[in-house]
Symmetry: C2
Subunit: 159 residues, 2 copies
């Protein structure tokens, strides 16, 4: 079925904002199943958990695979407010996803002042090509709102 990407990205943005309000970096993710039902929503917890792996996207994969009771979710769609980092994209690969919906791109937010990470020439497409993964990327969903999350972030965006 055709999913309402604009609606689900809005939920990911809500998560990012809720995270930012509690001192986290403003990243949000959502997993939706093949029937259009929201499975999980998540925000970054890496600051409060002092855990370099607790990004919103790894947590969404964790929560979704645990909730659905299976480690591969090829019927589900993944939403992220920003192009996931290589770790998070690897989590999405390991979760068996085939479709990724993006708000902002790393190249959009790299220009902003407080960004302290750099992944070289990495893009989700380049990673997918390297790993032999036929990933469908849908971009441009609420992009201006997503970029604004990072432009107005009160914390430095670090790894």
């Amino acid at each position: 079925m055709e999913l309402d990407h604009v609606r689900f990205m809005a939920i990911a943005i809500e998560e990012a904002k809720a995270g930012a309000a509690q001192g986290e970096q403003p990243f949000g993710a959502v997993v939706v199943d093949g029937k259009g039902e929201l499975v999980v929503r998540s925000r970054s917890l890496k600051v409060s958990a002092c855990d370099a792996t607790a990004h919103s996207e790894t947590l969404a994969v964790k929560y979704a695979t645990q909730k659905l009771g299976r480690r591969m979710l090829p019927d589900c769609t993944f939403y992220a407010t920003c192009e996931p980092c290589p770790m998070c994209l690897g989590a999405i690969l390991n979760g068996g996803f085939n479709t990724l919906v993006l708000g902002a791109r790393n190249r959009d937010i790299k220009q902003l002042a407080k960004i302290a990470f750099n992944f070289g020439d990495y893009t989700v497409e380049r990673f997918a090509e390297m790993s032999g993964w036929d990933l469908k990327v849908i971009e441009g969903i609420r992009t201006a709102e997503c970029i604004d999350l990072y432009a107005t972030a009160k914390v430095e965006l670090t790894r």
Copy 2:
């Protein structure tokens, strides 16, 4: 200081074997600090936790960053019984590591019967190049023992 790679890889192998004995896939990881002290040791928990992200390496990064109370560990060395998957290598990147010590390579274990994952042309070196990461890779440490972990695995090695 010069670390005793053979000794620390033996601990990672112990973790992999202990995991296999409890029904997990036989992967183990160890983090050692700059003084040569073991920080954490870990095994895969993805089967028992039904969590696509609970690989030994992501867990080692989580445990180590939490234990040391900082999210970047450039002074630490990471040991893995097998070349980490893209997600796990991304976790090692996010954890700020600069040195990775390997037992087996994916290309070594791909030939074995029960391997059900495939990451295309991925190697740790190709990932590091893509992401602009000056990662030092030390390989060939207890490699035969590490390959044997996968050759004798009683569970199918899936994502």
